[in-house]
Symmetry: C2
Subunit: 226 residues, 2 copies
DNA sequence: TACAAAATGATAGTAAAACTATTATATAAA
DNA sequence: TTTATATAATAGTTTTACTATCATTTTGTA
């Protein structure tokens, strides 16, 4: 269904483009898997080097540090998701259907097997659920933001906000609402699985989360803002 | 206005109760300030020891590691906030007013000066804005949750959810909604200050965020859930 | 007031993390 | 074929995240 696409990554993210070599691709794809396995805090370049049978020094030639690798992977996910959104919204004109489609894409776990890219979409989804906020919750945020590292996320937010405005041009908080839906689609999934007392779901249930997010989104856009 | 209260902290959080000694209190209060200054990643017990003129080893007698100190501080904040909520809701019977009061308490920045406790409320608020999710986004979450480390946050969420149910007993997502409001009150503040493209506010503006959260909350609870 | 128990300080040490540097070897491009 | 470039192998540095030991204060109680 989805063609093999190339996602253009911000070159501030790496020292050497990992897409240009076999080793680079392995660093990225296996780095993703290993971060998911160990958690970002316990993940080190040394462990990754052992895993893919290369050296620490070789990995450092691609990425300045593990945080940059994290941001690389997270932004890859958001870029990929925006591509999927774009693709899925093709030929849809009703903003309500558009927004529901996007919520589905945000919440539904990608299939494990299916990966056209060298990066596993399923693993990237898991990474975003656990580690995404660590990409921006640092003291370098202002500099990183100037380097446009968060552009893919902001673009996706912008796209959602535009559809919200299309649905109701008088709605006053399209960006607040778009970023709330974006953040909550992953955070609430995390809560369902790890802190279920914060949710209405004892068993992780995508449908219930989708229903909530849709209800939240549409009740808010439909109600007049004075 | 607020009396000097004692917040009972979970004793799994520390090795020795920091409230019981001058040094312990300094570790907590200055640790908070130093984490805010450096960011959690760059904060170390060694730096804190230098700051308060003690030794690393002494700090380790109180806290197993810096993550436990972080959780201590974050849960202190949520406990304190629940106390404030309880106090502020006294004599209010209308659930609408209750919910608006809570949103105000969540969003409005505490005054810098005013601190009855040895922990600065203002600093704790800043900490929550920057570091709160790092308290639970770890591979120890299941164990930490079993140790009830997140109880204060869950309690606050529960309290809000109960008022939501009071407002509309038929509303189907009281916990999803309560945790969304809780998470977004701080995350959106962070976005306004650091990634404003994700928000509708160019200048950090508490009133606009409050209006959004109130609109979001009430439009959702008012609309029937089928 | 005196003595014991507990807390703190001073110091040292270890293992791992987070890098940097150097040189040799393999691979690819001209 | 040569030359540039990438990778491997190895080693080294500084900092972090601890743990251990013992001396010295401080505190609580008989």
């Amino acid at each position: 269904m989805l063609l093999d696409i190339r996602i253009k990554m911000n070159d501030k993210l790496f020292l050497r483009n990992p897409e240009d070599s076999v080793l680079g691709k392995r660093i990225v794809s296996q780095g993703l898997v290993l971060i998911n396995k160990l958690g970002f805090e316990d993940f080190t370049f040394k462990k990754l080097a052992a895993e893919i049978e290369t050296t620490e020094a070789s990995i450092y030639r691609y990425f300045e540090n593990k945080h940059r690798l994290l941001v690389y992977l997270i932004t890859w996910y958001w870029s990929f998701l925006e591509y999927k959104v774009l693709f899925s919204l093709n030929n849809i004109h009703d903003p309500e259907v558009k927004l529901k489609t996007i919520i589905g894409l945000l919440v539904i776990v990608p299939e494990r097997a299916k990966s056209t890219e060298f990066i596993s979409e399923f693993e990237a989804y898991e990474l975003v659920k656990w580690e995404s906020s660590k990409a921006y919750l640092t003291r370098n945020i202002t500099k990183d933001n100037k380097d446009r590292l968060f552009k893919p996320y902001k673009d996706l937010c912008h796209r959602i906000a535009e559809i919200i405005k299309e649905y109701n041009p008088n709605y006053k908080y399209p960006y607040f609402l778009a970023s709330t839906i974006l953040e909550m689609s992953h955070a609430q999934k995390f809560f369902m699985e790890n802190l279920p007392a914060l949710t209405d779901s004892t068993v992780p249930n995508d449908n219930k989360l989708i229903s909530f997010l849709e209800h939240l989104l549409f009740s808010s856009i439909q109600k007049p803002t004075k």
